[in-house]
Subunit: 344 residues, 2 copies
């Protein structure tokens, strides 16, 4: 029936069987409206019978569109390489769904920041665009992003939304979310609120959360105490260390707002080790609402980010960019999830 006795059928085989030309097959299967309904159905039927599928490579090569996006996690190297930040893992689920809804394929990669790989994804036509998820020292990533932007690579990033970085960014309104957390703690009568997490511009998301907390405190007539802010990255261990530092210093505090749940969980361990009760002695609020947050004792109060919305908006934003119409950066609201760690 086909030209070749062996191998997968091609559009030529379908065309032959349907008695039309090969490009007509291509058009029909793509849903091009210039093909009559009758021939389209006939072609679709034959394609199904012969178990034919369009060759993705040939299609992408010719059309210069891969209908694929690459999801790149970039982070500072960690000891355990296969361990992924739980928050981004959740994001992955949402992005997968969003890409599937748009009929896109999703490539993923966890290349470390040292590698140049991510730069090549679009150049090599593997993907039409990139979604970047990352954490760690922001200033290190900026350079890469500028490079990507210069090369005309399409990408959308999850992170702190500001105008100073190249590329479109989607992220939670961290300042507002920090304010929510702060107000909640103040409502519980807490007055000396510690912040665990880096608070300088190298970590703009954490910085925003801290600024939100400070704003809430000032509004309540309390001047934030800088000595209650301790640097920490998003790991349980750093959270434990940070809380320990605070305790060793003899600092007085009745609440902790941690920049992430992992930090909060680590901090709770340190508090338990020191014989302090949560929320009795110290109320704790985290950020992210990772699955483990509800497993702790007491369950952790935290700020949930709109993960589902995030994935969808990231994909939308990226797709728009690929198609030449740029969408503006977007800020998503965070939502306070009150659990036992902050209320009596």
């Amino acid at each position: 029936m086909g030209r070749k006795p062996t191998g997968r059928p091609t559009s030529f085989d379908i065309a032959y069987a349907a008695g039309v030309s090969q490009p007509t097959v291509s058009r029909a299967l793509r849903g091009d409206r210039s093909v009559s309904e009758k021939t389209r159905q006939k072609i679709e039927q034959i394609a199904r019978d012969l178990n034919y599928t369009v060759d993705k490579n040939a299609s992408s090569l010719r059309s210069q569109r891969s209908n694929t996006i690459a999801l790149l996690f970039f982070e500072d190297p960690t000891p355990d390489e296969t361990m992924i930040n739980p928050f981004f893992l959740a994001m992955l689920g949402s992005i997968t769904k969003a890409t599937a809804d748009e009929g896109l394929d999703l490539l993923i990669s966890f290349q470390r920041m040292e590698d140049d790989w991510h730069v090549q994804y679009q150049d090599s036509h593997r993907a039409d665009g990139l979604i970047l998820l990352g954490y760690g020292d922001y200033t290190k990533y900026r350079e890469r992003m500028d490079q990507l932007a210069r090369q005309g690579t399409h990408f959308a990033r999850w992170g702190s939304v500001s105008s100073d970085s190249s590329g479109v960014t989607v992220g939670t309104d961290n300042v507002e979310a920090g304010r929510l957390a702060g107000e909640h703690l103040l409502d519980q009568g807490r007055k000396r609120i510690a912040f665990l997490g880096h608070a300088d511009d190298h970590y703009p998301e954490f910085n925003g959360r801290y600024r939100g907390l400070c704003a809430a405190m000032r509004k309540a007539g309390i001047e934030p105490d800088d000595s209650l802010q301790v640097d920490a990255l998003t790991t349980e261990e750093e959270g434990r260390q940070a809380a320990k530092t605070l305790l060793d210093r003899g600092a007085e505090f009745d609440a902790i707002f941690a920049a992430s749940d992992l930090i909060a969980i680590g901090a709770m361990r340190a508090l338990a080790d020191a014989g302090l009760s949560v929320p009795g002695d110290v109320a704790v609020v985290g950020f992210d609402d990772i699955p483990s947050a509800s497993m702790t004792t007491p369950p952790l109060t935290t700020v949930m980010q709109d993960i589902r919305g995030a994935g969808q908006i990231l994909v939308e934003t990226l797709l728009a960019q690929v198609e030449g119409r740029d969408l503006p950066p977007r800020k998503l609201p965070g939502k306070l999830i009150v659990r036992g760690s902050s209320v009596a």
Copy 2:
């Protein structure tokens, strides 16, 4: 410099700049040894200067090899679509690493079992092979796998290792792991051990774990009591329900071996609700060692699967298959992680 005033450089541009023919460029960049060292270096240099990368689509089209594998999660539909089983999420990390090490790209998809999509991944030349991760009613998946095998699709699956299913499977030695868990509980002096999880052939992994438990008990001279086995799927809620069923029934038991950590966590909640202490009244052992397992109170004793090894072996196995040499199925050992939920 090139033939075209605009757009990405092609291998022709590199060839022109290097004063060689275009196929030589292709050969050089592929590392073909029939290109002299000198010209290879020259070509590589020029390629770097011109920011050239090989077009993945053209390359894959011509060579009929995409150097990409697709990772497909298939599961029975759940209420929250973006929620992914934590164990498979961990597996994802390991598979990503393994594919990166082999220089492969990784496509992922969470298509539900209803869809036919997964069948098309290889046909459309998107991927050279498939890795299947899934849970739920096994008998439903068998049919699909037989279909894949019939079509000559290359795939490797994570799950229960047995000879009866088509395709190569890699998995933990569930019987042995179940025995480990059982022996541990028996060592703690427990005699009436309940099993929470489906134990019929529709769920061969859980079934293996149960058989292992039974074997350990018989070896210790205790005949397993069927009434202490309660069906449950891998969710916290089902675990809670299962434990509640057991309690409502007035069953006597001093230990629970849950077929997964999520089930175990749910069961611990039910025990707490009933005023029973862990491990005082009931010792609990889970399976998987998901991140949350160490967060519970008390921390959960569990069986850790060799996730890192799993990813590597799955990729190896699949790659071998693609290259025409079949590797045998593999069983990986599980490792007991003793925490507070099972020892006093």
